[in-house]
């Protein structure tokens, strides 16, 4: 069994019905919300539309990791799967690597797909759309690791899910706020990239530090 097969196996644990939840949250928040409206406003400067588009991909990836990652991991935690994982030799994050990769890959494809789909319509340069790929990829991997770690760490992982949704509401308002605060577009993009890298580092570090007793006694 190679790593790709392991990832495909892990993808089976994903609760795809939770995608409906993501769609519902996105629909609810974007209904009358500024982001999509601003994005589709043709009168907006191209740079601003690029930024909104980038942020939209960021948000969709975040939401997908949150719903897919948390629901899959909560389900496995309830099935006591991790008790066995912690009796396996080697670092736990390596055993969980395929799980994180599977969640990240699905979220990346859909999140980045949003940028590509809307970006093609908006006539953005291909290189720019491509340039966003590593950022969304880093975000997806880091958040997936963080989501798995959070479920393992907290006794009531549903609270993590709730917290993640609340954070998403805040995230949704962020691009406008950044610009209102007088940040240049370059700075706003850099800030978003910085946020993605920070979340990724936090997630990967968190996954390395999950104490088994937190999981076993939950």
């Amino acid at each position: 069994m190679n790593f790709r097969q392991l990832c495909l196996l892990e993808a089976r644990n994903v609760n795809y019905r939770s995608l409906l939840l993501s769609a519902g949250v996105v629909g609810f928040l974007f209904m009358g919300a500024p982001l999509l409206e601003l994005l589709t406003r043709s009168a907006l400067p191209l740079e601003l539309r690029r930024f909104y588009l980038f942020f939209l991909g960021f948000e969709v990836t975040y939401l997908l990791v949150l719903t897919l990652g948390l629901t899959a991991t909560i389900r496995e935690k309830q099935a006591d799967v991790f008790d066995r994982v912690f009796t396996m030799p080697g670092p736990t994050w390596q055993v969980l690597g395929a799980k994180v990769t599977a969640i990240a890959a699905i979220s990346f494809l859909l999140g980045y797909g949003t940028i590509v789909a809307l970006g093609i319509d908006a006539g953005f340069a291909a290189w720019l759309v491509l340039a966003y790929a590593p950022v969304i990829g880093i975000l997806a991997v880091g958040l997936a690791a963080g989501a798995v770690a959070a479920v393992l760490y907290f006794e009531t992982p549903r609270l993590v899910f709730f917290g993640g949704i609340v954070a998403f509401i805040g995230l949704n308002a962020l691009p406008e706020r950044l610009l209102e605060w007088g940040l240049s577009l370059e700075m706003a993009v850099a800030g978003t990239i910085g946020l993605a890298v920070m979340l990724a580092l936090f997630g990967l570090l968190a996954l390395r530090r999950v104490p088994p007793e937190r999981v076993v006694l939950a």
Binding site: M1, D80, V81, D83, T87, M88, P89, G90, V95, V216
Partner: protein, 284 residues
């Protein structure tokens, strides 16, 4: 259910000399949420033996196993698996197979997929899958079914088969008979017996004293987080009168003793039920 005995010698070589201590808990202490769960557990499991851990509900058997496997840090005492503390060096877990009282396999994976995953983690060829499935006697129509769709008995067999995939020197089974029908229990007994024949070290906990009596070389009785008795189940006892053999009891430590100046001893099987209730200080 069949376990090959052809590799018994090889297995014994892998485990070191028979009788060498492979798993040891010394004065183990553990509190969880302010409650003392373990308060002086002592276990010493030797190579190639089948070792039973018995005790009432809440005695601390599962917590002891979790400490031994490095899943829980201890508050006092020490743990040694093949001479190593698994919390400081988890590579020792390569030599250990574990089956929990509750099922821990991926619910949405087939048995074969779960075992292939285990083969990947332990770095063993996937040919082991068929061997282990045959060993536990899991019905062939269950091999490609999702774990959650299997009966309790099939799930337990799949769990044991997965634990055997890397040919562990030590197999730790927490309540392996729990919740199984008599037929599956009998097959599980056969399997454990076969593992013993093959020279593997098996440690298991159970509430069923008959199973422990039938399968184990030695046993520990745990109560209120302490080891009350640790003794072989068949050991030499002093014959006081030829016509009426008796067993001498000693209040502290091991219940049955033989002194150097005693008359020649003879092997006697200890009645575990009697030992259990006397150790717990309750009427059987």
């Amino acid at each position: 259910m069949h376990v090959s005995t052809a590799t018994a010698t090889e297995n014994r070589d892998a485990q070191g000399e028979d009788g060498e201590t492979v798993l040891e808990a010394t004065a183990l202490e553990k509190s969880i949420a302010g409650t003392r769960i373990l308060d002086g557990v002592e276990l010493s499991v030797r190579g190639s033996e089948t070792y039973g851990v018995v005790g009432p509900n809440g005695a601390g058997k599962t917590t002891t196993f979790r400490c031994l496997l490095g899943l829980l840090p201890t508050d006092g005492g020490s743990v040694s698996v093949f001479g190593t503390d698994p919390r400081t060096d988890d590579t020792v877990l390569e030599r250990v197979g574990v089956v929990f009282e509750y099922e821990t396999l991926q619910p949405r994976w087939s048995v074969r997929d779960t075992m292939a995953h285990a083969c990947h983690v332990y770095g063993v060829p996937t040919e082991r899958i068929e061997t282990c499935l045959a060993e536990v006697g899991l019905e062939s129509d269950a091999h490609d079914r999702e774990f959650r769709d299997l009966s309790k008995g099939m799930q337990r067999k799949a769990s044991v088969a997965t634990a055997l995939v890397h040919e562990p020197d030590l197999l730790v089974l927490d309540e392996p008979m729990s919740g199984l029908d008599p037929g599956t229990q009998a097959r599980m007994r056969e399997l454990i017996d076969g593992l013993r024949e093959a020279g593997r070290t098996v440690v298991f906990s159970s509430h069923d004293l008959q199973h422990v009596q039938a399968l184990c070389d030695r046993v520990a009785v745990i109560a209120d987080g302490r080891t009350v008795v640790e003794t072989p189940l068949s050991k030499p006892v002093r014959v006081i009168e030829e016509s009426r053999p008796e067993i001498e009891a000693e209040p502290a430590g091991e219940v049955y003793v033989v002194r150097d100046d005693d008359p020649p001893a003879e092997a006697r099987t200890i009645d575990l039920e009697e030992l259990y209730f006397s150790a717990l200080g309750v009427e059987g």
